[in-house]
């Protein structure tokens, strides 16, 4: 029987390469910068941009694991409550005389534990969706934070602690360096490891993944635990920047974070998207906020713009698919 070579591979085309959502984000990002520059003469300076990053990078730590969660086809809306709980416990312990480094470690441990509990509940009670589980723990974690601090502020941290949120290494903000390291680690994790490959597989077809011997429960558990840990990292930087904490800290972060992930082109249906997209979206939204803040555009206006961007982000894949005429 003669062999024949079938090439059904889509030929590489610049068009489809450039049509990727990530490039769209780059374009929008450039557009925002041009707009900001024309709006305010103070915008385009190294110092101001650098300082701007410090204000929005704290929640970006949660964006990284949230990408994994959404690729899995799940969601975690308890992350902001984890930030609050971890932050409050750290502050409370410090006020009670626990040395600050130890309090910080406990902060990380608390966050990790909260994430682990989320994961465990989701894995053990298959009939409960991740939304339901994390909605409940969102309320519970925040509630515990209120019990601990009773709606008061706690703070008076040692001076060196403010370095996290405000410090520089040479000309570069410390938080930016830490974020770059974590971002690189998550890019590697998602795109270069067997773990990342399994996450994508599960997001596309969890049954087939299980039938291929993928330990689906274990992977979910790890991913949600990671989210808890990263929420605690956010808690460290946020608390340091604010110098004190209260139980209502980080309210609404979960929506910001999810918005960034979706804007980054990660499909809420699961299985699709790139880490870099979400990272771009972090900077995009951050700079947009900062620039519009400079010229005193009201916050509500900003929300509207964000909402519009999100709709575009969600629609783009639909438009592209429609053209291909998939069945």
């Amino acid at each position: 029987m003669e062999q024949r070579i079938v090439t059904n591979r889509r030929p590489f085309s610049w068009k489809s390469f450039l049509l990727q959502w990530e490039w769209m984000l780059v374009l929008i990002f450039i557009g925002i910068n041009i707009m900001n520059m024309s709006l305010s003469e103070y915008y385009w300076s190294f110092d101001s941009l650098r300082d701007a990053t410090m204000t929005f990078l704290d929640k970006a730590f949660i964006v990284l694991p949230m990408v994994l969660i959404i690729i899995l086809g799940d969601i975690d809306i308890s992350v902001a409550s984890i930030v609050a709980l971890a932050s409050v416990i750290m502050a409370d312990l410090y006020t009670m005389g626990v040395p600050m480094p130890l309090a910080m470690l406990i902060c990380l441990a608390v966050g990790t534990l909260c994430g682990f509990v989320n994961g465990l509940l989701i894995v053990k009670f298959k009939e409960l969706s991740a939304v339901i589980v994390t909605l409940s723990t969102m309320i519970i974690y925040r509630g515990i934070a209120y019990i601990i601090l009773e709606d008061q502020a706690a703070g008076k941290f040692p001076d060196w602690f403010s370095f996290l949120g405000w410090g520089y290494v040479g000309p570069v903000p410390f938080i930016l360096i830490v974020f770059a390291v974590f971002a690189a680690a998550f890019i590697l994790l998602l795109h270069k490891t067997t773990f990342g490959r399994r996450v994508y597989a599960m997001g596309n077809n969890i049954t087939a993944s299980r039938f291929s011997g993928v330990q689906v429960d274990k992977i979910k558990l790890i991913v949600f635990t990671l989210a808890g840990f990263m929420a605690a990292v956010t808690a460290l930087f946020l608390t340091s920047r604010m110098g004190s904490t209260r139980p209502n800290v980080a309210t609404g972060y979960e929506l910001d974070v999810i918005a960034m992930v979706v804007l980054g082109g990660i499909s809420t249906a699961g299985g699709k998207g790139k880490m870099i997209g979400a990272i771009l979206a972090v900077f995009l939204i951050g700079f947009l906020r900062y620039g519009l803040g400079l010229v005193n555009v009201p916050a509500q206006m900003l929300l509207i713009i964000l909402g519009l961007l999100l709709i575009v982000a969600v629609m783009i894949p639909k438009i592209k698919l429609g053209k291909q005429g998939r069945i």
Partner: protein, 499 residues
């Protein structure tokens, strides 16, 4: 000469891939026209063009001496063309009648409001169910049915359209002997009504039994088309296989070693009960039975998908407490599922991504993937199983048989010690079937054991050392290869008891 249906010079390409080139095809009323040909030859594509799912790049379709235009499935339906696809396309959460009357629900006579006349829908569905002799209720939810039953629901759907042409794409792929008989009876009845039936299949026995006319497709071209009476079927098939037909089941005698898997009094949820069996190294154990007899449940309990189970599972003398697919796999117990799209493949991932998924450790180092090793590994398997496709191709766009081969590729070389294969050759072309049997031989020669779950009786009888027949969740009888007869197997499969 006027044929009822004529497809003239149909061409179709996907990207760079010429799938059909100037294909002529004709079908007549009251005729069963079989289309055969290797995997990826273009059979399904040709018929999907007829049913309006794909548009041809060029060519015409004539019906009753007039050119017709089929731009979408709805137009095809209006011309009386119905297709039963290779992959089941029903709404799993709806019931039978809702599926049958999807998008053309009967309405009440009342002008306003326009309400669906469900009574009539259920009545008609029941009538058709009875006509086919199916013991099913019109209100049964589709996902609770067996695959075979779902195929029949698709049949009923086509019939209720008053179709003039019914296309069946490998309808018998996972059907058992009785179900096939029932299907054939239905086909003959429908044929009498003057319907033209187009029948795609890889199973020789069936084509010999039912086809009035045969068209052979190869690489998107028609190589032969003639009435069965004028055709030397044996020669034709030999030409396709390229080998003598005598060795259709080239089972080798292999010396059996120590026990590889032993199961004692296994039970799960009432769906399987009291199952004891053992497989030795080098042995092929065939398991057969009707759909719903618990064959698949047994496989899934062994592989750790279903649990907790009652009873004991021992591998190489060691007992398991609780299984999971991961544990099973790491002990060398692997499972090739028979259900392609849900369980077997990640449809919108590439061939290589699918093939390496159970074998990620082989193509990575310290958890980091090596894309070079990955494509190499995938390409090697693509060659061995003659999938003839690029490893980057998305499995969604592969032909049914090639998709099946990708699932096999995932597991055949994962160094399984006990390999459970479900319907290993369903949907696979005649030549490749032989290749797969030969690979099975290689595996048992190297000391592995195979549990082959199959509805294909000649295959079960040809390839197994022992044959276990299941009925209603239990093993009713285990035959040695020499003792097994078709009649004997059917007797126990339909609930017969040793006397």
């Amino acid at each position: 000469m006027g044929h009822f249906l004529e497809m003239r010079k149909i061409s179709k390409r996907f990207n760079d891939n010429m799938v059909l080139s100037e294909v002529d095809f004709a079908a007549d009323k009251a005729q069963v026209h079989a289309i055969i040909g290797e995997n990826g030859a273009g059979k399904s594509t040709l018929m999907k063009i007829l049913s309006g799912l794909f548009l041809p790049d060029s060519g015409e379709i004539w019906m009753d001496g007039e050119p017709i235009s089929i731009q979408n499935p709805k137009q095809a339906q209006e011309h009386g063309i119905a297709m039963i696809y290779q992959e089941i396309r029903l709404f799993p959460d709806l019931n039978i009648a809702e599926n049958v009357f999807m998008r053309r629900e009967p309405l009440r006579t009342m002008r306003w409001p326009r309400l669906i006349d469900w009574d009539q829908a259920y009545r008609e569905t029941e009538k058709l169910l009875q006509y086919l002799g199916l013991p099913l209720h019109a209100r049964a939810i589709v996902k609770t049915l067996t695959i075979a039953q779902q195929k029949f629901v698709e049949m009923i759907k086509a019939l209720s359209h008053d179709a003039k042409i019914i296309i069946m794409d490998e309808p018998t792929a996972a059907l058992t002997e009785q179900e096939i008989e029932l299907l054939f009876k239905v086909i003959k009845d429908v044929k009498k009504l003057g319907v033209s039936i187009i029948y795609i299949s890889h199973r020789i026995e069936e084509i010999q039994q039912i086809a009035d006319k045969v068209t052979v497709l190869r690489d998107g071209e028609v190589t032969q088309s003639a009435l069965s009476s004028e055709l030397d079927m044996t020669a034709l098939i030999q030409a396709m296989v390229g080998r003598q037909l005598e060795d259709r089941y080239p089972k080798l005698k292999v010396k059996h070693g120590k026990e590889a898997l032993r199961v004692e009094k296994l039970g799960f949820n009432g769906r399987i009960r009291n199952i004891s069996l053992e497989v030795k190294k080098g042995e092929i154990l065939g398991i057969t039975g009707l759909s719903g007899s618990g064959r698949r449940t047994l496989a899934k309990v062994l592989f750790g998908i279903h649990g907790p189970y009652e009873g004991e599972i021992h591998m190489n003398g060691k007992a398991f407490k609780a299984m999971s697919p991961h544990i099973a796999k790491s002990h060398g117990l692997c499972y090739v599922t028979g259900i392609t799209s849900e369980e077997g493949l990640i449809m919108n991932a590439s061939i290589s991504e699918n093939i390496v998924l159970p074998n990620l450790d082989r193509v990575s180092h310290a958890g980091f993937l090596s894309t070079g090793r990955e494509s190499e590994y995938a390409r090697d398997l693509i060659d061995r199983l003659e999938i003839s496709a690029d490893e980057k191709e998305i499995v969604q766009s592969l032909s049914g048989g090639k998709q099946k081969k990708v699932i096999l590729a995932k597991w055949l070389f994962a160094s399984a010690k006990v390999l459970i294969m479900e319907e290993p050759t369903a949907g696979i072309d005649i030549a490749s079937k032989l290749d797969i049997y030969n690979i099975m031989n290689e595996l048992v020669l190297s000391g592995a054991s195979i549990i082959m779950i199959s509805s294909d009786l000649p295959e079960i009888m040809g390839m197994s050392d022992r044959i276990a027949v299941m009925y209603n969740g239990q093993i009713r009888k285990t035959f040695l290869k020499e003792e097994a007869t078709q009649a004997g197997i059917l007797y126990f499969a339909s609930g017969g008891k040793d006397t």
